[in-house]
Structures are given as structure tokens and as C-alpha cells.
């Protein structure tokens, strides 16, 4: 990187072999999901077509439409085609169609079928509008960034989680004033399993604040104020994860978010969501993230909260290869792949820090262009806040020493409560101190050729390679079923949200996917 001598030797041919296996794994997944859609993908299309708001009972209109599609067995036709069919019959714009459906005033099954070209054309103005909203939000961010540049990496990433979006903004602004570069609003615990996005500003949440479009807007506005006050760009993060992956992705794209938690397997492993559902949703959500230029954050760090950080280090990297392969399929360039890993080795283990360096350095070398996201110690944190603060310092040091990109700051009260305002301030102070005093340490150091660090890195890469070869041969679903990731096994056909998966019919259309793909191709050409 940056013309600096390599601190660590990495077997490039083994890395290439890993990539090949991961590509094969992704191919298998894509074969599994081809010809399928989900209710949440359809709701996402609704949102892109301008459908928003809630009905009288508070049900979001995109859900009104998807419920209707399900109840009338029209999911196979898809939202676009059905809405176009309604437009053809009634002249209604999609939002009006949704309102009429909500009011029970419409029976689309009675309308005449139309051909694909006509369906495509009829709603084209709405497609243009929908994409323009994303373009505008992106342009606004670009403008701000040009005026108020980012600080150098590793970026300081903190979370707010009060449950009250207004209290969150106060804490977020305070954090930016203290030096945070990135603010993530943690979602309420229950939200990942909701099959809809709540509506409007919210002031009660549990262990976090609901992800809603209005909450996104309120927080974006607050951060934009902070940006002007501090003269530094501040990034906003939320979760395109759970049962509404792609819907939240588009909501975030509309409201100018900068990053989204988004993983190809997290929902399956940690939220027991159905595999097909997850694989389909993650694909469309990533197309949106890619188009909106939003960095994704993958969730490999979570593996090490349940599995041992040394024994299972290779599963993290194997998963990163898979996340990368899947993300490429969705059109995400490397610079938007915030692959996740974590600093979770037992603090009382002799030379544990050496192993952490090996892991972090290996990830950095394998994915040189990805904005790697490094997660702090959580598992071995205890009520001993003083020791916890030190563990976070060593984590910060590992980061600056191995050129990580996105540093999620550890809280000294990790084992006690969700962060107090001073916990966050102390975490920022911790990172700023370490990052300043050791700013260019990464350029100063080389690991000895046959030292513990180098040998450990070699070993983990080998184990990764072996695992990927296995997964490529059995296929990802079987590997997940066997509990290869995070030591959690999930049955192929089980899990939540399975009923929201549907085969697409002959009439099915998703012109947004086509358009995103086309434009992403163009952009890639332009990049060359």
C-alpha cells in the first residue's frame, strides 16, 4: 500500500485460489436463487416507484401492496408489472394505486394483462424519478465531502442507541464534536425480524432506535449541521439487514446515508432468517448500495462473539471471500466493501496481540482496496472498565499498525450497558490518542520472516483455503447447515421469512435491477 514495503508476506497464489473457490460458492448461491423474488424486494420496487406512507391502520403502503400481491397470488408477476397493469387500466400512478389497494377499492386481477415493453414504459417516468432521488442524495453528499473532507483513516466509528431519535441526534452531534467520523444509529432489537419498515420519527426503541425514513432524515440533517460546525465530513450508518434488507437499502439511498450494515449470511446465522430469502434480498440491496455509492459493512465480527477468535480466525476470512464474491455479483466495487473482522482474542493469552496483528494484517493484505471494518473487543470485556479501556487501546493500536480503514470504537462499559455519553467520549479520546501518537507506526515496522506473526498469517490463510475448497465442493447452504460459520447450524429450508420467497413468473419485471446493473457497468467503464 502507498508504495510502502510489505510488512508481511502473503502467498498470492493461495489468495487467488481462495478467490476462485469463493466465486464458485457464489455461483452456486446464484443458481439457487435465480428466478425468485421476495416480498421485500417487491416492496423495495414500490418504494423506488414512489410508494410511501401508511394506511389507516398504520400499515406502510409498500406492505399493503406486497400483502395484496400475496393474497391475490400476484407476487410471481411482481410489483412493477402489477402496478403497471393497474396504471394501464386506471391511469393511476403507483402511489395512487397503493392508496386504492389500501382502501380496498381495487381488484387488479380483473384488469387486462399488458406486454412487458408496455409495462416497462408505462412506469418509466417513475423509474427516472426514483433513481433521480438516489442521484440527488448522492450528489448532495459528494458536494459536502468536497467542501468538508474526510479525515484520514482509520475512521472513528461510534454508535448511538438511546431509542429516541432526538436524544440520538444530541449524542451524535456531541460525538462528532469530539472527533467521531462515523455515527451508526443502532436499531431496536426487535426490528431485524419485522417484515416492514416502521413509519415516521420514533422516540421509543429497545436497545436502539427504529430505522425509519424520517429518522434517517432527522439524523442526516443533524450530522450535516455537525459537518458545517466542525469542517469535517461525518458519515451516517444504518442497517440494511434482517427481513427488510433491500427496502432499508433504498430508504438509506434516498436519505443520503454513507454506510449500511449488510451481509450475505448474517440474517441466516444470527437471526435465523431463511436462506433463499436472505440471498435474494442481499443481492438487490447490494445493487442499491452500489448504485448509491454506499459502503457496506459485513458481519464476520459476529462469528467471534460465539466462536473462539483463534480457532475460528479462518472462518472470518473465508466468509469475507464469500461476501466479496457475492458483492461483486451485485456490482459493488472493492472500495465499497467494508469487510468486517474483530479483535476478540482472550486478553490473558500470551502473545494474543501478535495473533491479532497477524489476523488484521492478513485481512488488510488480502483485500487491499476494501475499507476494512475492524470491530472491538466485546466478548472478553467485563465490568472492569479500566482493563476494558486498555484492551480498546491495544485494539486501536492494532488498527493503526495494520492500516485498517473503519474503526468501530470499543466502549469501556461494553459488559455493563449501552454507551453513556461519556463512554463514547472516552472511546474517542482513546482512539485519537493512540492514532496520533502512533500515526505512522505502520510504515516503521516489518514482521520478522519466520516470526509468530508471519507463521500465524500463513497458517490462517492455509486454513481459509482448505475451508473454501470444502465449501465450494458442498455448496454454501450445506456448509451453513453443517455449522461451518460461527458454529451455528441452520437448516436449508428453515428460518423466518421463508413464506416471503416466490418464484417469478413469465410476466415478472424488475427494471430497476436492470437499470442499476446497466448504469453500474457504465460507471465501471468510466472508472477505467
Amino acid at each position: 500500500m502507498n508504495g510502502i514495503d510489505e510488512r508481511l508476506r502473503v502467498d498470492r497464489s493461495m489468495v487467488a485460489a481462495c478467490r476462485d473457490h469463493a466465486r464458485a460458492v457464489a455461483d452456486g448461491v446464484y443458481r439457487m436463487i435465480s428466478g425468485k423474488t421476495t416480498v421485500s424486494v417487491e416492496r423495495t420496487i414500490c418504494r423506488l416507484l414512489g410508494i410511501d406512507g401508511v394506511d389507516e391502520r398504520g400499515v406502510p403502503l409498500p406492505n399493503v401492496v406486497s400483502d395484496y400481491l400475496q393474497s391475490e397470488s400476484l407476487v410471481g408477476d411482481g410489483a412493477w408489472y402489477t402496478l403497471a397493469r393497474i396504471t394501464a387500466a386506471t391511469g393511476c400512478a403507483p402511489i395512487d394505486s397503493a392508496r386504492r389497494i389500501a382502501a380496498g377499492q381495487l381488484d387488479a386481477t380483473r384488469f387486462a394483462h399488458i406486454d412487458a415493453g408496455h409495462a416497462r414504459e408505462l412506469l418509466d417516468p417513475h423509474l427516472v424519478d426514483g433513481i433521480a432521488r438516489i442521484d440527488d442524495a448522492r450528489a448532495a453528499r459528494e458536494e459536502l465531502k468536497a467542501q468538508y473532507p474526510h479525515r484520514s483513516q482509520p475512521w472513528l466509528y461510534v454508535i448511538v442507541a438511546t431509542g429516541n431519535i432526538y436524544e440520538d441526534t444530541v449524542q451524535a452531534k456531541a460525538a462528532v464534536a469530539q472527533g467521531a467520523d462515523i455515527v451508526a444509529v443502532i436499531r431496536s432489537t426487535a426490528q431485524s425480524l419485522l417484515d416492514y419498515i416502521p413509519y415516521g420519527p420514533t422516540t421509543e426503541g429497545f436497545g436502539g432506535t427504529y430505522a425509519t425514513q424520517e429518522n434517517f432524515r432527522i439524523m442526516r440533517k443533524a450530522l450535516n449541521e455537525s459537518i458545517r460546525e466542525t469542517g469535517r465530513y461525518a458519515q451516517l450508518v444504518n442497517y440494511a439487514s434482517g427481513l427488510c434488507m433491500s427496502e432499508i437499502a433504498v430508504t438509506g439511498a434516498f436519505e443520503g446515508l454513507d454506510m449500511m450494515l449488510n451481509d450475505s449470511m448474517y440474517g441466516i446465522l444470527f437471526r435465523d432468517i431463511n436462506m433463499e430469502r436472505t440471498f435474494i434480498d442481499q443481492h438487490f440491496s447490494r445493487m442499491i448500495n452500489a448504485y448509491a455509492d454506499i459502503i457496506i459493512n459485513t458481519g464476520e465480527d459476529n462469528y467471534l462473539t460465539t466462536a473462539d477468535a483463534v480457532d475460528e480466525a479462518h472462518t472470518v476470512i473465508a466468509s469475507q471471500f464469500i461476501n466479496e464474491a457475492m458483492a461483486k455479483r451485485a456490482g459493488l466495487p472493492s472500495r465499497l466493501m467494508g469487510l468486517g473482522h474483530a479483535f476478540e482474542i482472550d486478553p490473558d493469552r500470551e502473545d494474543g496481540f501478535l495473533l491479532e496483528l497477524a489476523h488484521a494484517e492478513l485481512v488488510r493484505r488480502i483485500f487491499p482496496d476494501a475499507p476494512i471494518k475492524y470491530m472491538p473487543p466485546t466478548r472478553h470485556m467485563t465490568g472492569n472498565i479500566f482493563k476494558g479501556h486498555l484492551m480498546n487501546a491495544m485494539f486501536n493500536l492494532a488498527s493503526v499498525l495494520t492500516d485498517q480503514s473503519i474503526q468501530l470504537l470499543g466502549m469501556l462499559t461494553e459488559a455493563v450497558h449501552t454507551p453513556f455519553i461519556q463512554d463514547r467520549a472516552l472511546a474517542i479520546e482513546n482512539a485519537r490518542y493512540v492514532f496520533t501518537t502512533a500515526r505512522h507506526l505502520s510504515r516503521e515496522i516489518r514482521f520478522t520472516p519466520d516470526g509468530v506473526v508471519q507463521r500465524r498469517a500463513d497458517q490462517v490463510l492455509e486454513e481459509t483455503h482448505r475451508m473454501l475448497a470444502d465449501v465450494a465442493s458442498t455448496g454454501l447452504p450445506a456448509a451453513i447447515e453443517a455449522g461451518r460459520f460461527a458454529a451455528i447450524g441452520r437448516p436449508v429450508s428453515g428460518g423466518k421469512g421463508a413464506s416471503g420467497v416466490c418464484e417469478t413468473g413469465e410476466r415478472y419485471l424488475n427494471p430497476f435491477a436492470d437499470e442499476f446493473a446497466r448504469r453500474l457497468d457504465e460507471r465501471r467503464e468510466g472508472d477505467r
Binding site: 464534536a177 432489537t189 449501552t418 455519553i421 461519556q422 467520549a425
Partner: protein, 261 residues
């Protein structure tokens, strides 16, 4: 000749001299950093009955907040000779001892159903106690020949947990609660006891709760039989269950009882 011989009936914090009462504190005030804020921090401490209060560090946190670090002297003392802490009193046995104990006294293995209830998805603690692998080198209940276990995992509604316990004619129910924000664990646990009582089934089970913020005392308060906190090892729970089910005469110890799955 020793310098420090504390009076157990009047225990005070200790900095570097017996009874100096020294403590450290930190907190945030919703005031921007200023001499006023520093004085407000001092007055908060005075309001707590402290004296010799020094604000050794004040820092502005932005948005109208300031953070304060204080040292002060506590003026109260505690009569430690009168502290009685509720404790699990059954002796802790070894792996084999527990199995032998159960084999000798029970008609069948002790049946244990466990779950993380409510919205709690933190399974690691319960798994540590219940699963084969165990924790810190000690096997979990599943490994004992004396126990038959059902670990229902995360986010289990209290209703489902009770239904399952009834279904398998369990001797004991284990509940794990890790998330404690806004006292949600207290609500969950109280609700479980209420449901059991409503079903007139409270006495059928030895009812145990665990989690990092759980104490035996809290468990008793909430109507449980025992509570296990941070760092609990599986044999402690196994020993407790083996010995308590006998005393309580749960299904496995009753000559007539062999219902369930």
C-alpha cells in the same frame, strides 16, 4: 503491630490510610464545561454526603455536556458484621459425584428445560451451562448422565417455555437474561412466575435464573428458587439442581412419576 486493622462494624473505603474514605467518581452533567459546571459537579458530590471533594478533571463534551472526574471522601460507614447475603448453600459436587447422586436418588435423569426468554438473544451464557461443551473446561449439563436437557435457545416467549416444560414433565426450568436495559429482565422474569402461578404449576419446577446481572438475592425476590451470576460454572448449577430436586420432590424423585416424552 500491623498498620491496618479495620473495624468490621464500621467499614469505610480505603485509599492509602485506614478509614480515609477515599473514592473515585465520574459522571456527565448537562451543562457545558465551565467553572459553574465544575461547581455543580462538586455540589452533586456534596449532596451525596461526601466531603473533601475535588473535581480533578473536567472536559467539555459538546452539545451542552461536560464530563467530570472527582475524588472525594465518604463519610458513612457500613457495619459489615451485620451483612447477610443470600447464597446458594448446597455443596458443589464433582461431575461423577453429581451423576452418582442422581442415580442413587432419582427414578430417571433430571429433566431440565432452558431458554433465553423474551427478546433476549444472548445464548452464550445458557449454552455455557447447558450444552455438552460447557464452560471454562467444565462440561455442561447435557454431558451428565444424570440430566436430560432441552435448550430452547433465543427469544423464547415465556408461554412457549412453560408449555415445553409441561410437555416433557421437566424437573427444572433454567432461564437466562442478559439484556437488562430499562429493567426488561425484571419484567420478563416476573411475568414467568405469574404465568406459572396462574397455571398452578409454580411448584412443579425448580426455577432457576442466570445472567451477568443476576444475583441469588434478586432471584429470590422475584420468586425464583435460585439465581446464578457472572462466571457461574456448570457444576455449580448441576450440584444445585441434583440436590434441590430431591428436597423439592420433583417428578424425577416421585416413585409414580415418569410422565413426559
Amino acid at each position: 503491630m500491623s498498620g491496618v486493622r479495620p473495624d468490621i462494624t464500621a467499614i469505610r473505603p480505603y485509599g492509602d490510610t485506614l478509614d480515609d474514605g477515599r473514592i473515585q467518581m465520574s459522571f456527565t452533567l448537562p451543562m457545558e464545561a465551565s467553572e459553574q459546571a465544575r461547581e455543580a459537579a462538586r455540589q452533586i458530590a456534596l449532596g451525596m454526603g461526601l466531603d473533601d471533594v475535588t473535581v480533578v478533571h473536567m472536559r467539555d463534551l459538546g452539545e451542552g455536556f461536560s464530563f467530570h472526574v472527582l475524588y472525594a471522601r465518604v463519610t458513612v460507614s457500613v457495619d459489615a458484621s451485620r451483612i447477610v447475603v443470600a447464597k446458594v448453600t448446597t455443596p458443589v459436587l464433582g461431575f461423577d459425584e453429581v451423576n452418582e447422586y442422581i442415580a442413587a436418588r432419582y427414578t430417571r435423569p433430571v429433566r431440565v428445560v432452558g431458554a433465553c426468554t423474551g427478546s433476549d438473544a444472548h445464548t452464550v451464557g445458557l449454552d455455557a451451562i447447558m450444552n455438552m461443551k460447557g464452560y471454562a473446561g467444565e462440561y455442561g449439563l447435557e454431558r451428565y448422565s444424570g440430566f436430560q436437557t432441552w435448550n430452547l435457545g433465543a427469544q423464547v416467549p415465556n408461554e412457549d417455555l412453560i408449555a415445553r416444560a409441561m410437555e416433557v414433565d421437566a424437573d427444572a426450568i433454567l432461564v437466562s437474561q442478559v439484556v437488562t436495559q430499562k429493567e426488561v429482565h425484571v419484567r420478563n422474569l416476573t411475568n414467568l412466575v405469574e404465568l406459572l402461578e396462574a397455571d398452578e404449576a409454580r411448584d412443579r419446577f425448580v426455577l432457576v435464573v442466570g445472567g451477568p446481572r443476576v444475583s441469588h438475592e434478586l432471584a429470590l425476590e422475584l420468586g425464583f428458587d435460585a439465581g446464578f451470576g457472572s462466571g457461574t460454572l456448570p457444576p455449580e448449577v448441576a450440584s444445585y439442581l441434583a440436590q434441590t430436586c430431591v428436597i423439592r420432590g420433583t417428578a424425577a424423585t416421585r416413585a409414580d412419576g415418569d410422565g413426559g416424552a
